[in-house]
Symmetry: C2
Subunit: 392 residues, 2 copies
């Protein structure tokens, strides 16, 4: 009972940003700075769909509330362009707002959510904020080996999941294309995961915010494998480079009344997604194809260049490289101190990276690099810093 | 355990919007429409601080992420203009986002939050979404009578609170100026409430989104009575007429580490408030005084006119009238059906009002009217509809 001055242990147990520890060093960078720790884009949004293109003259009342479930113009565009059913779609404050609303709807205290790791950092905190238990299963970084060893996707998935799914598990979180590994899950793997969910009556939380950024293989919607149980999260942030605008979507499975439950959860969290972001979203869906194609080509080019420069597998999608830096860590130090020391060595040369333990408890010897958060030339110089430190 | 296809009973127990029941009738309004059910403004925001005034040319990177705790420009303006301590202030997605983050920080399952009623509708759902129990105490509509009966604010507050505060209570929610009653709490009443909170080690959640709209008496910050335990919620939505932009603030009491806990809670809900709304907020704080003064004068004029027309006390603040319509309800029907029938009679004449039971379980014979959500002329015609139905 967190009476003043106490807070809920669940919140206190979430780790604070590692960057508060590094902030002083980052502030001292005096040469060029390579901020490759944030998942963002260097590109300005598509011409004609900047937020400044929406005025009271063209959109009277655009500073006022719209409907909590979403602006009618955006829901119409989502139906037309992305095939979303307006009766099962909610517009949310980014995919973060959407997944948080889903967690609020289907997690009760003590329930477990199995998260395929390494994972988007916020998802474990979202589960814990909803009073659930986040159970991270190393998956994306071991999938190829498991497939080679076990022969079929069903067996590989079963081996990787092990005994993670138990009587308290309510949901399974899947993110493809994956942040941070760049892996794109294939049809057999998704079918195997859907079968597991069906066997255990689990919800599937599918995070598909990088769907447009698939460079090898093909992005497949998880909901096409298990439509009856899949919440699909998507966002304009990554797709169209408007992360600061806060607009995304949740598609809710066709369970009677379920859409309204998620709507209530979202409404009590932030009431609605920003009106202007929704207007921009509608226009981006209808006019942003060229921008998407240019971005996809540019992201793939720099992402593959960076992977080659670091001697890594080329990312199949997304905007990140997840780099095992164990060989460059001081073996005399515990992992967390060794990684912090390594991050500080990067910062001394202007390069800011994200520490791997944000992506799952077993990734304390990794770093994540976003290859789109600075212009390609800057990314090349930043990657060269990392290659140098790794002796590659 | 809400496995597919089940959801958390806590969410399922929240009532859906009453407007879904009324939607068909509202859609059939064919004459003038008076949408006085929403808390919003008819005024466009201050010239020079429309969202369209912020461009990539003047604010490079404005479509990207900013810091989750708030844009540095806005935090600087909040410090300068509103006296907020940047080290204890968080920028949130409206006051809704802020109070939701506070609830996520200090409510554990089964904890109770005492809410002074009638109350802003979303707060009870926010408490319940955080797994807490919302305990509504009729207060604002009974305060004058209690003060007259008991002589002192301490005794009146004690009488009104009764035995509502128990061993599971963690917080007390206060909203002044009050939505929906228009009451503004005085210094003695706030001091009495602060004393109660201190006695029981409760957090105070102070919702002050209507602080600029005080027409009688003086708005007082609850934190000036109990700085050590008061979370202050505020928003640009109501103050500056940009509800659709989703930007507000939480000031956190000076408890070591507490700011970071609330930051974590907010970050896992929506990551950050929209960047462009924060830029607009900073400019509004620095240049919006004339607009505020004009709005305050206009709101007071129409609000007091409406109260006079309906034979009610003039609102001391806020943008609402809370009207007891019991005399016009069909006594043969249960309260909820009688109120729905009354709302439908209003809708037949174009007038949309909010049902009282959203403001607390004992207000099923009230309606709420927002006197700023349409231009004054339209509000006058809408109020005339209500006066006619009430025979006033």
């Amino acid at each position: 009972m967190p009476r003043s001055p106490h807070v809920s242990p669940r919140i206190a147990g979430l780790s604070s940003s590692v960057f508060s520890r590094l902030a002083a060093s980052i502030a001292q960078i005096d040469g060029e700075r390579f901020p490759l720790h944030v998942g963002d884009t260097w590109r300005a949004p598509a011409t004609g769909a900047h937020l400044s293109d929406f005025t009271e003259a063209s959109h009277p009342g655009m500073h006022r509330y719209t409907r909590p479930q979403g602006h009618p113009e955006l829901l119409a565009a989502l139906a037309e362009v992305r095939g979303c059913d307006p009766a099962r779609t909610l517009v949310t404050s980014g995919a973060t707002g959407g997944l948080s609303a889903v967690a609020g709807t289907v997690v009760d205290p003590g329930d477990e959510v199995v998260i395929l790791g390494p994972h988007w950092p916020l998802i474990s905190g979202i589960v814990r904020c909803a009073h659930g238990i986040a159970k991270v299963v190393p998956f994306f970084d071991r999938l190829d080996a498991a497939l080679a060893e076990h022969g079929t996707a069903d067996k590989a998935v079963a081996a990787l999941l092990g005994d993670a799914i138990g009587p308290s598990t309510v949901a399974l979180y899947i993110n493809t294309p994956n942040n941070p590994t760049g892996k794109v899950l294939s049809a057999p793997v998704l079918a195997a995961l859907a079968a597991v969910a069906r066997t255990h009556n689990l919800w599937l939380w599918s995070d598909e915010v990088y769907d447009h950024y698939t460079f090898a293989g093909k992005h497949l919607k998880v909901s096409s494998f298990a439509p009856e149980r899949t919440f699909s999260a998507w966002s304009f942030s990554k797709a169209y480079g408007i992360a600061g605008a806060r607009c995304g979507t949740i598609e809710v499975p066709d369970v009677p009344g379920l859409w309204d439950e998620v709507r209530k959860s979202a409404m009590h969290s932030v009431y609605q997604a920003p009106t202007v972001a929704q207007l921009a979203g509608a226009r981006l869906l209808r006019t942003g194809d060229d921008w998407l194609a240019e971005s996809r080509a540019a992201y793939q080019q720099i992402g593959w260049w960076a992977a080659d420069a670091l001697g890594l597998d080329r990312p199949e999608g997304g905007t990140f490289l997840f780099v095992d830096v164990a060989s460059a860590l001081d073996p005399a130090l515990p992992d967390d101190e060794a990684l912090t020391a390594f991050l500080l060595r990067c910062i001394e040369q202007g390069l800011i990276l994200a520490p791997g333990d944000s992506y799952g408890p077993t990734y304390g010897r990794h770093v994540r690099l976003c290859f789109t958060s600075a212009p390609p030339d800057a990314v090349r110089r930043g990657v060269a810093v990392l290659a140098g430190l790794l002796g590659r």
